[in-house]
């Protein structure tokens, strides 16, 4: 049961990473990156490291997204390529 859950979360992680690389809008890329961090936190929680998962959820999904947003407001909106 846990193995199937892990495999599903791994697939979600890979999907989020590919979407975050492929998308043109940088705001959407930040949101997808936060979703990636959330999936990673779920993975840590399933594996058993609840403290690491908590830290990943707070810092990865919350604070880094917020700092990316603050940096994005100063630069141009669209990616170059």
């Amino acid at each position: 049961m846990t193995l199937y859950l892990e495999i599903i979360i791994y697939l979600l992680l890979i999907g989020c990473a590919i979407i975050a690389l492929r998308v043109k809008d940088l705001l959407a890329a930040i949101v997808v990156l936060s979703a990636y961090s959330l999936c990673s936190a779920f993975l840590f929680a399933v594996v058993g490291a609840v403290d690491v998962g908590f830290t990943e959820a707070v810092v990865g999904a919350g604070l880094s997204g917020l700092l990316f947003l603050a940096a994005l407001f100063y630069t141009s909106r669209k990616s170059a390529d």
């Binding site: 609840v50 403290d51 908590f54 919350g62 700092l67 947003l69 407001f73 630069t75």
Partner: protein
Amino acid sequence: MVKKSSSIIVGIVSRAIVPFIQLFALYVIVHGHSSPGGGFQGGALLGASILLLRLTVGREGSELVFPERMGTPMSGFGVFIYAFVGVAAMIGGGVYLNYAFLPIGGMQPAELRSLGILLVETGVGIGVMATMIVIFDDIAKGNFHD
């Protein structure tokens, strides 16, 4: 940069949700002995709640919660609490950061170590919270692009 958000729904919802985030962060710091959590996670949650206010309410409103000039002194104060607990253990007769020798009377060594962990986690929480706010404020204030 930080100007007031134009949408009224975002402002009211974030103002309503921030006290619960801060209460949960305090719970995470204080209850870190027996549940997952600790100083770093609780401090990051506190910082995230104040940054949410900075983004939505605006600088004038969030200055009341956490004034901007207090950021750097608070982050230094958090590290100072941690180091001072270690020095207090040295005063009590142990080695550095050995909480069993804290100079507080009438407690067993196990309880003293538990109390020392709580003090240290508080220091870490204050330091992390203030550092997150300092980083965001300096990025938002810099105007380095134009």
